[in-house]
Each structure stands twice: as structure tokens, then as C-alpha cells.
Amino acid sequence: MHEDRVSLFPKIVTILVLIFLVAPLVVIILASFSPTVLVVFPPKGFSLKWYANIFTSSTNFLSGLGNSLKVAIVATLIDIVLGVAAALSVTRYTFKGKHLLIAFFTSPMYVPSIAFAFVLLRVFSMIGGVPAYLRILLGHSIIIIPYIIRNTIAVLAGYNWLLEDAAASLSANPLQTFTKVTLPLIKPGIMAGALLSFLYSFDEAVLGSLLSSPRFITLPIRIMNYMEFSFDPTLAAISTLLIVMSLTSIVLMERLIGLDMFLK
């Protein structure tokens, strides 16, 4: 009895927090089916016209989506290669200054994106002629690399390196050892980190704001620009699509490695 009373307060707060967290997302999903421009509750009917708007009217959301995917996919692929190698280098070998090197690898996390975005803007304008796609891609490759490295280090911390020695003693060369033994075992962790980084880049709006050009604009910036001129539920429709994408990702992540990785 005593115990139940103790946990009542945290329980109530938890329920309120969960409601608070999902409220705006539920509102967006309901608003996307609103037949009227002004979202009212209870809704006065049901309509899919805002979804049609994404494809038919000149929202440019689709080109924004294409641009965001192009940046996020390429940046994630580059960073998987760089990040996994870097994570291996600091977990496979013991050496002095290891923590310093890890701190260096994750340092972009501690610099405000707006400061980094502004610095890149100035550097690129000094160089001149760098297309917006490349500017955003390079910027994103830097800011997401800490997430891939941290995740891979976390997976590798639980990895039994004797397996590599065993493979080597069975006359596998280092490349074979990595691709046939180590990689398959750490792959789920890398995938989860990659998914996280992909979403970060896909949703990123600070570098996107400063480094885009009229010819290359990413989706979050398209949505913010649209908001300045009109506030109809087309915004809710595109947002709902993004929410569904995130929900799919998190379920995928849960399947891949479970959600405990977020508790470290």
C-alpha cells in the first residue's frame, strides 16, 4: 500500500507529460483532415484537399522534399564511412590522449549550429561559386558526424575483440575479418545511429536557412517560408507525412536494437 502511494505523484506527472508531448502532433494530424482553413474542434467534416494541395499547388514542398532527401542520404552515407572508421580507431587501440581524440571527434556537438552556419556562409562566400547543395551537404556532414561516432563507440564498447584475433588465427586478412566478423555484429547499432543522423539532417533548419539559395531550398525551410504567407492546413498535411516518417523510424529503431541506447 505504502509503495503505491509513493509512486502516485510521478505517475500523474508522467501521464501529463505524455499528453503534453503528443498533443501538438495529434492536433496536426487532425488538422490535416480539416475541411476549413481555420482549424476548429470538433472538426466540421473531413477533407483530403490539403494533401492534394501538396502535389497540385505551387507549394514547392515536393522539390524541397527531394532536396532534403538528397542532402540527408548522401551526408549519412559519407558519415557512416568516416564515423565508423573513426569509432574503430578509438575503440580498437589504446593510447594516450584517447579521450581528447573522442572529444575532438564529437566537438561539433558543442558549437551552436547558428554560429557554425554563419561561419560556413562567410567561408563559402569568400571562396565563391560553391553550389547551395554542396554547401548544405558539407555542413550537415560535419554536424551529424558526432552522432554516428558516439553510437558506434557505444556498440563497440560491448564488442569482444578476441573474435577478431580468432578470425585472424584462422588466416582471415584484416579486411575479411572486418567485413565477415566485426561488421555484421555491430551493424544494427550503426544502422540505428545512421537513422538518427539521417533524421537530424533531414529536419535541420539552421544551416538550411543560411546556406540555401533560391534554386536549392530544403523542406524545413520551404515549410517555414510557406508559413510566412499562408497558414492553411496544407502545412498540417505535409507535417503529418513527416510525423508518419518519424514514427516509422522509431519503430524500426526499436526493432533494430531496442530503445535502451537512448538511456546512455
Binding site: L21, G83, S89, R92, Y110, V119, L138, L210, A236, F262
Partner: protein
């Protein structure tokens, strides 16, 4: 020898990318700014009350946000760490899921709720609690609501991990020795979970100091925080020198807070027996 070569081969690409695309630009632009106008823009920022107020607003909003996050996040984290409910995984998904949704989308959701003709005002008017719509959008309150929503998962996750590492028997022991729940909390749970609280607070404070999308969308054009100010100086006032100064001052202020937080962690860790949770 081959070990050294392998290590170099593995760590070089990332090191090179970070040096060329991150460290060099950050240092070069700082030097360049100082060469062009000396410290004039820094002095302008630090002596003009208009700009100092923006820094003050940014710090105050971030502190308020951090406080609210701690009050909401701690009990939630405790519940998550201790619950044996089958719904735990579902709860984790609900907490993590907004974390993966774009800040633009989440701010939009709050705009629909908090606007003058928004759902909250519709509801309050219909119930008769108010006669005129409340002005919440484009105030600091809206920004704080948005930031709390944005950063709650970070705070909850930072603390849950630490509480999971505290033996539940310690709480039983305290209560069997006659501590009431409140006393158990202050004498046992709170001291042991301080590392998680500090790392959570550090994280959310830094993130709200640098947040850009939420203050821009929920605060509107006349609400200024450091990061929206950088953007305004670049795109509206075309004053790149001042934008530089604001960027580096923001970095410096955050660094200062991080050092203070780290010193606090070190001294607290010493007192609670050098746990390495943080």
C-alpha cells in the same frame, strides 16, 4: 608498426574533414573578423543595452525552460526507471517520438494550439473562462512552451539512465529506517541522481540557448534571442561583422556555462563518492 598505420588510416579521414571544414573555418573567421573591425563589434554588443538585453532574454528563457524541464522531467524519469508496467516500451516510444520530429513541425503544432484563433482560445472562449482571446503566440510564454516540448525527451532520458542505476533497495532501506517518501527523496534519491540532473540540465540549457526554429516561429519577428539575432543581422541588416560578434559571444557564453556546470559536477561527484554517471 602496422597497428600504428591502421590507426592512422582509420582516424585520418574524420580528423582531416573536421580540421578543414570545422576547426579551420571557425578559427579563420574569428581572426578575419578581428582583423577587419578589431573588437569594435564585440564592444558594440557588450555596451549597447539593446543587444545586452537580447543576451539577457536568451539566458533567462533558457534558465526558465531548464527549470520547468527539471520539474516535469524528473518525476517522469523516476516513473520510467522504476515502472514494471508492460506499457514501458510504448511510453518510451511516445517520449522518443517527438524527439525525431522536426522542430518546424512541432512549432507549427503549437501555433495551431496557441494562436489567437487557436484551439486553446477556442476552448477557453467556449467554456466561458475568458471573454477575449489570450495573447500567447508571439510572446516569451509561447517560446518557453515550444522549448519545453522540444527538449523534454533530452531531460527525461538523461535522468532515467541514472535513476535506473540506483539500487531500489536503498529507497526501501531508507523507508524502513523511518524516512517518509519526501525525506527519502531528499536524502537518498536526489543526491545519488545529481550527476544525471546536472548532465540533463547542461544539455537542455545549451540547446535552448542555441535554439533557432522555435523562437523564430513561436516568438515572431519582434522576439529576439541570440540565434535569431544572428540570422537577422545577416539577412535583414546585412551586418556581417556584428553577426560574427554575436556568434562568437554566444559560443563563449555557452562555454562559460559548460565550465561552471563541469566544475559543479566534479565537486558533487566527489561528495557522493565519485560515481561516474555523468
Amino acid at each position: 608498426m602496422s597497428k600504428k598505420r591502421n590507426f592512422f588510416f582509420l582516424s585520418f579521414p574524420t580528423t582531416f574533414a573536421l580540421l578543414v571544414l570545422f576547426v579551420a573555418p571557425m578559427v579563420y573567421i574569428l581572426i578575419n573578423t578581428l582583423q577587419q573591425d578589431g573588437i569594435a563589434n564585440f564592444v558594440k554588443f557588450l555596451t549597447d543595452s539593446f543587444y545586452l538585453n537580447i543576451l539577457k532574454t536568451t539566458v533567462i528563457i533558457s534558465l526558465k525552460t531548464t527549470g520547468i524541464l527539471l520539474l516535469l522531467g524528473y518525476p517522469t524519469a523516476y516513473f520510467l526507471a522504476r515502472t514494471t508496467s508492460k506499457l514501458k516500451n510504448t511510453m518510451m516510444i511516445i517520449i522518443l517520438f517527438p524527439f525525431l520530429v522536426s522542430a518546424v513541425v512541432r512549432s507549427y503544432g503549437w501555433m495551431v494550439i496557441l494562436g489567437n484563433k487557436g484551439l486553446l482560445n477556442q476552448f477557453l472562449l467556449a467554456v466561458g473562462l475568458i471573454e477575449n482571446p489570450l495573447k500567447i503566440m508571439y510572446t516569451s510564454h509561447a517560446v518557453i512552451v515550444g522549448l519545453v516540448h522540444l527538449l523534454l525527451p533530452y531531460m527525461i532520458l538523461s535522468i532515467t539512465g541514472v535513476i535506473q542505476g540506483i539500487d531500489k533497495n536503498l529507497e526501501y532501506a531508507a523507508s524502513s529506517l523511518g524516512c517518509n517518501p519526501l525525506k527519502t527523496f531528499f536524502k537518498v534519491l536526489l543526491p545519488l541522481s545529481t550527476p544525471g540532473i546536472i548532465s540533463g540540465c547542461t544539455l537542455v540549457f545549451t540547446l535552448s540557448m542555441t535554439a533557432y526554429v522555435t523562437p523564430r516561429l513561436l516568438g515572431g519577428a519582434n522576439f529576439r534571442m541570440m540565434s535569431t539575432m544572428v540570422f537577422q543581422e545577416v539577412n535583414v541588416n546585412f551586418n556581417w561583422g556584428l553577426a560574427s560578434a554575436i556568434s562568437y559571444i554566444l559560443m563563449f557564453v555557452i562555454l562559460l556555462f559548460l565550465v561552471v556546470f563541469n566544475l559543479a559536477t566534479a565537486s558533487i561527484n566527489q561528495r557522493v563518492g565519485g560515481q561516474k554517471h555523468a
